[in-house]
């Protein structure tokens, strides 16, 4: 599989997250000191600045915090997707993450809509956590 779309340039902070996504899990950092999850993965907790962190598999459930329906693509690689929904998902565990809503009807997407993660393989190495409304 290949794609013209931009792929994440994986680094040491994000490697466990992308690896888990490729294996069908949503793993995000959990702080051993303040007990809060965060996203995107960092080397220190953005809440309390502890480095006592581990990756935790979360529920994959959340709600649409906000979104936009892209009527113009973010560059030629996304032209065939238009219209598509880019959404900021607030996970049940607290953090927000940017993703796509997989839907045949973008107009149905609304703030507060309940969603769950679904994994979409992009290449042999990269799988994206997308979301769909439940």
């Amino acid at each position: 599989m290949s794609t013209d779309k931009p792929l994440p340039v994986i680094d040491h902070d994000s490697a466990p997250y992308w690896q888990a996504a490729h294996e069908g899990r949503l793993d995000i950092p959990l702080c051993g000191d303040c007990g809060k999850h965060h996203f995107y993965p960092r080397a220190i907790c953005p809440h309390c600045h502890s480095d006592n962190l581990k990756f935790d598999t979360v529920s994959g459930r959340g709600e649409v915090h906000t979104f936009t329906i892209a009527r113009r693509p973010a560059g030629p690689a996304f032209a065939d997707d238009v219209p598509y929904v880019v959404a900021l998902i607030e996970l049940e565990e607290g953090p927000r993450m940017m993703s796509r809503i997989q839907t045949d009807d973008p107009e149905k997407v609304h703030i507060g809509a309940e969603v769950e993660v679904t994994f979409v393989k992009a290449t042999d190495e990269i799988t994206f956590p997308y979301f769909r409304m439940t």
Binding site: P6, L7, D11, T68, P73, G75, P76, V86, M98
Partner: protein, 390 residues
């Protein structure tokens, strides 16, 4: 209390553009140099008097490190002893005014030159394909996030959800700003505009239409600052820098702490107004960054001109248009006058011109105190400057 080292603006210049493109033939640095020279000469100074150089831009020799101040200093043939290349997006120049003010007070420099130039329109170089998918952007760019409009659209969507703000409210801002542009011969878009025109323009990234978005043009501008004492011998009537503040919260829009509330503007505005010792009722003219209509609404709320959530009502009834109760973005703004990528420089130039009283048809009568607020990145950074007629 007045002090001889109080910072003042004594010179300014901007490059002529036509149909959004530079009229003069020169490189991006050439335009920077031409406005720099014009701004210092307006004040009765020369480039050799400049010992403080501040700039930010999207140009530079590609490769590790884009050393903007170094590149520009070389081009100008000067050896500045105070430099600041702070780049926090389009608000950088408001931060530069703050930093130059501190350097002047401290005696670290005598004549500070702030410069911006962009030939993005002529070069057709504006890249809306998204930021490279590295660091925090690896979690946004791959999803097809339209940059930068998508981030602003998400903030608008959230504001509409929380406070009932409408597309009509946002369109009022674009229409009022166009009316100011019609009074400014230098503005790029001067044809009449209605709320319906905005609402029926192409949807780009819901809920933002094409006419909710700023222009894409070339542009270059420069500002010269010195001390009140030095200004006494110069050719222009100085405009005093009375207060300033700056803050930033995030780069990727997904990291914005509250998408319906512009915390950097709130923080920067409070700091600047307190320093200047002014309240909202003292402000005669307001120049705020209008990358998108929603930017203005969020900024007015955060600066405290109205309550959080009431921005839609505040801008209704063409309140910010010529003749309205709240003169704002009097040159026609980034929405209708020019928007060369990082627009904050032009907010400062227009505010200074208003305080000099040289704005012709668009002059705000009796303008003595101006508030300038720049926003940079994707609602990432904010910097406020309070200017006063001396």
């Amino acid at each position: 209390m007045k002090n001889g080292r109080d910072p003042v603006i004594v010179g300014l210049a901007d490059a002529p553009i036509e149909d959004g493109k530079f009229v003069t033939k020169a490189s991006v640095l050439g335009h920077a140099a031409l406005v720099a020279k014009a701004a210092v000469e307006e004040a009765g100074l020369t480039l050799d008097d400049v010992d403080g150089l501040l700039t930010a831009g999207m140009w530079g020799v590609p490769g590790p490190g884009q050393l903007a101040t170094v590149t520009l200093g070389e081009y100008l043939g000067i050896m500045p002893t105070y430099v600041d290349g702070t780049n926090i997006g389009g608000s950088a120049f408001e931060a530069h005014v703050a930093h130059a003010a501190m350097a002047l007070r401290e005696g670290y420099c005598e004549v500070a030159l702030i410069v911006y130039s962009s030939d993005q329109k002529s070069l057709r170089s504006r890249n809306l394909g998204g930021r490279p998918s590295v660091l925090s952007m690896q979690h946004e760019t791959p999803y097809g996030m339209p940059t930068p409009v998508g981030g602003y659209a998400m903030a608008a969507q959230r504001h509409m959800h929380e406070y009932g703000t409408t597309s009509e409210n946002l369109a009022e801002i674009a229409v009022a700003t166009r009316k100011w542009a019609q009074l400014n011969p230098a503005a790029t878009r001067r044809d009449p505009l209605s709320v319906d025109d905005v609402l029926s323009s192409t949807m780009i990234s819901e809920p933002l239409h094409l006419l909710d978005c700023c222009l894409v043009t070339d542009g270059a501008g420069a500002i010269v600052m010195t001390t009140a004492e030095r200004a006494k011998d110069l050719k222009t009537k100085p405009v005093a820098v009375k207060g300033y503040g700056e803050a930033h919260t995030h780069w990727a829009i997904g990291e914005m702490p509250d998408l319906a509330r512009l915390l950097p503007a709130q923080k920067a505005g409070e700091t600047a107004m307190k320093m200047a010792g002014v309240s909202h009722s003292d402000i005669d003219v307001v120049e705020v960054y209008d990358s998108f209509t929603i930017t203005v609404l969020l900024t007015l709320e955060a600066l405290g001109f109205c309550k959080i959530g009431e921005g839609g009502d505040f801008v209704s009834g063409q309140r910010t248009a010529p003749g309205g109760a709240f003169p704002m973005n009097t040159n026609g703004g980034g929405l209708s006058a020019l928007h060369p990528g990082m627009y904050g420089m032009f907010l400062l130039i227009e505010a200074t011109r208003q305080l000099r009283g040289v704005c012709g048809d668009r002059q705000v009568a009796g303008a003595e105190t101006a508030l300038v607020h720049g926003t940079g990145g994707t609602l990432s950074s904010g910097a406020t400057v309070i200017l006063q007629k001396d």
